[in-house]
Symmetry: C2
Subunit: 146 residues, 2 copies
């Protein structure tokens, strides 16, 4: 190994604390107050990866199929997704995000980014500090995607 375990542990502790606190702070910024994190996560998945079956969505969100059925019911009632029967395998149901659903995800992301950008701006960070945050972001995504 190239670095001592101490460096890894210290870095992990710092990063864990900072990540949870910032996520918690940003999570409460939404396009629609009534929208739950669970619903928003389903919409974000559909927006990024396109139509998915109930089972595929349940696996991705790590919930059971009945839970996903329930959640898709709620989203469909709000007009944010639509169910389409699968032509090839008639047991399956494809779930698509609607334009209204896309708009809510886009607006939530925009609000969070604006809120965070404003926080960064208020602290008068230097270009060097902002660059550090961007480099760290790239490293964090490597950790998640590894």
């Amino acid at each position: 190994m190239s670095v001592p375990d101490d460096s890894l542990q210290l870095t992990a502790t710092d990063l864990r604390m900072a990540t949870f606190r910032l996520a918690r702070r940003l999570r409460c910024v939404r396009a629609v107050d009534a929208m739950s994190d669970a619903q928003l996560a389903v919409l974000a998945t559909l927006r990024m990866h396109g139509r998915r079956t109930i089972t595929a969505l349940a696996e991705r969100e790590r919930v059971t199929a009945p839970s996903m059925t329930n959640m898709v019911n709620g989203l469909e009632e709000q007009g944010l997704v639509v169910r389409t029967p699968d032509a090839e395998d008639r047991r399956r149901v494809q779930v698509d995000i609607t334009d209204a659903g896309i708009a809510i995800v886009a607006q939530t992301i925009q609000r969070r980014d604006e809120a965070l950008a404003e926080m960064l701006g208020e602290l008068d960070f230097t270009e060097t500090e902002l660059a550090t945050l961007r480099e760290a972001s790239a490293l964090m995504r490597k950790v998640v995607d590894r």
Copy 2:
């Protein structure tokens, strides 16, 4: 202002995405699988800041007083917190974390840090990259605490 809006917005978007993904990944690591995020957050607050009234806990966790009453009931049934009537103001109830509650918070934090340290180790990050993550963590905490 010292830096262009573009830098702020780009940094905010990178950091928002990385933060949410890493938090989501680490959130599923717990000492006890049956423990919810909400319960864990209450325990962590009590461990860090000491005894608190129901109202103070509700404000800190941004939930209503009835919700906090409900959650404290659940934690008390599990022996993780205890209610103590306030001697000075008998309307109040002080909530204290027990040794069992402290142990669960400590174990969860340790598991998450170990999981993250292992992820960092597997990617063979350099000392420079680890330092970038620690610097970014400090900046993120400044954002949250500002």
